[in-house]
């Protein structure tokens, strides 16, 4: 009997120990389950925050580099522009404040906070790297990761040199002065910012009345000026504006002018000028300073520069004078230096070269 009583007691203990076993195991597993839930929720929120930060960084980098296009070397303004994006994180509810903008001269450069350095000029800095930091509060993983998780996003944007155009270039072309009476040796075409040059020339033998081109007829005056319109057609001005009226062209291509007599006059430069909201400012400085009726930039044109030997040597930016100055003969325009296509504003009226804005990473 003693034995039986012992056996019964042990059995009773065994039964008691099994009672609530699942509850006990569940409690232990709950920690693991909560951890996994926390992983899904907190990591998910972090993933969203990262994506939101990336969106902010992309726009901020474009803003910064666009600001540099309008005012080369204005780094404080570029930093400020980078912070102006209204993009928020935390599902669009929290402002992003930790924004660091650094600058470089090329995509592979060491980006620095306070340029210039290493012998570069402020205007050489055409790339911006924006780094955004966000601290995402952790709810369920705080015991592991701490109260917040650091999220960072980076974007680089820059002004890329254009070596080709898909169309949209102004269908008249000046010739380079680099090897013939250069007026500014630092300019790739020997042009001087602010000076006037001839885009369309009178037939051979006639002289031009444009700026320092005055009296100069060049060796190929009969065709110089008509560029990139295809073999025999003359595009409408709007076709050219849309990029469909002129053919793609790259540096080094043979310069294919339109020579057919009689077609030249159908290219009506006045129509182009009338697309601008300021058709009267006499020069680029006045045009830029006009705040009463500001121009929309249509009088600023990109042209193909030729070497006077039927080869494309590059692209330049000119300002068209008022339509009232044209008498159907020479087309004169003012050289205004560099242009960054797509920059939301007027070019600075300095430097040289044609660029486009690009988000690089």
């Amino acid at each position: 009997m003693q034995l039986n009583a012992k056996s019964s007691c042990r059995h009773s203990l065994h039964v008691d120990s099994r009672r609530g076993y699942i509850m006990l195991m569940f409690s232990l597993s709950l920690v693991l389950l909560l951890g996994l839930s926390g992983l899904a929720i907190d990591v998910g929120r972090t993933y969203v925050a990262k994506s939101e930060a990336q969106s902010f960084a992309d726009v901020a980098a474009l803003n910064a580099v666009a600001q540099l296009a309008l005012a080369p070397g204005a780094f404080a303004a570029a930093r400020n522009a980078a912070k102006q994006s209204p993009k928020k994180w935390n599902f669009g509810s929290s402002a992003i404040t930790d924004v660091v903008t650094t600058f470089g001269t090329s995509p592979t450069d060491s980006f620095i906070d306070s340029p210039p350095s290493g012998g570069y000029q402020p205007s050489d800095y055409r790339f911006a790297l924006v780094t955004v930091h966000i601290k995402v509060p952790m709810y369920l993983l705080s015991s592991i990761s701490g109260p917040t998780a650091a999220v960072a996003a980076q974007a680089m944007a820059g002004q890329m040199v254009k070596t080709g155009l898909q169309g949209g270039e102004f269908p008249f072309s000046p010739f380079s002065r680099k090897n013939a009476s250069p007026e500014d040796l630092s300019d790739p075409f020997g042009f001087k910012v602010g000076n006037t040059y001839t885009l369309r020339w009178e037939p051979s033998g006639n002289s031009t009345s444009c700026g320092t081109d005055q009296g100069n007829v060049g060796s190929n005056g009969s065709f110089r000026g008509y560029c990139c319109t295809g073999a025999s057609n003359v595009p409408s001005i709007r076709d050219v504006l849309s990029g469909g009226g002129t053919v793609p062209v790259r540096v080094g291509d043979p310069f294919g002018p339109l020579e057919a007599p009689g077609q030249k006059d159908t290219i009506n430069i006045q129509d182009w000028i009338n697309y601008d909201t300021d058709t009267v400012s006499p020069d680029y400085a006045t045009y830029r300073a006009n705040t009463t009726h500001p121009g929309n930039g249509k009088r600023i044109v990109t042209v193909v520069v030729n070497d006077d030997e039927r080869t494309v040597v590059g692209f330049a930016t000119f300002f068209l004078f008022p339509a009232s100055q044209y008498q159907g003969k020479n087309y004169c325009a003012q050289y205004i230096g560099s242009q960054v296509q797509g920059a939301p504003g007027l070019p600075p009226g300095s430097g040289s070269g044609l660029y486009r804005l690009k988000l690089l990473r």
């Binding site: 998910g44 209204p86 939301p344």
Partner: protein, 151 residues
Amino acid sequence: MQPINQKRNKNNQAGNAVIEFAMLIPILVAMFMGTWSYGCAYYIYAQLESAVRSGTRYAALTTYDATSSVAYQMAIQNIVVYGNPGGGAQPVVAGLQPSNVNVYVQFSGSIPTSVSVSISGYKIPGMFVSPATLINKPALQSPFMGFYLPS
């Protein structure tokens, strides 16, 4: 031979586990579904954020033709939904329609100055609760940096 009480006890014991498990099942299911729902919602939202970012980048850098602003808007909606300005068959986020994509262009005079892209009316599916409907989220605004073609 086992005593009758002991036998009854053992039978009762077998039922305990089932009852305890049955009691805990709803909690487990709720936790699983909650985690799944939130995980999916976050994943979908991040995908939408990425799609809106692509659409905004395209909108900011492409040509705005004043004579075909509808085409401009459609191209952006297609970028967001299909990742291609020409459209497609498979949306990058299940259930997303071009009509869910808002494109808002701001002008100064007649010149576009900035463009905003956002999602509205898209329902993020929920397993427990009714689907969450997004209103103007996610959204992204960028200065317009493309080419403007007047009418």
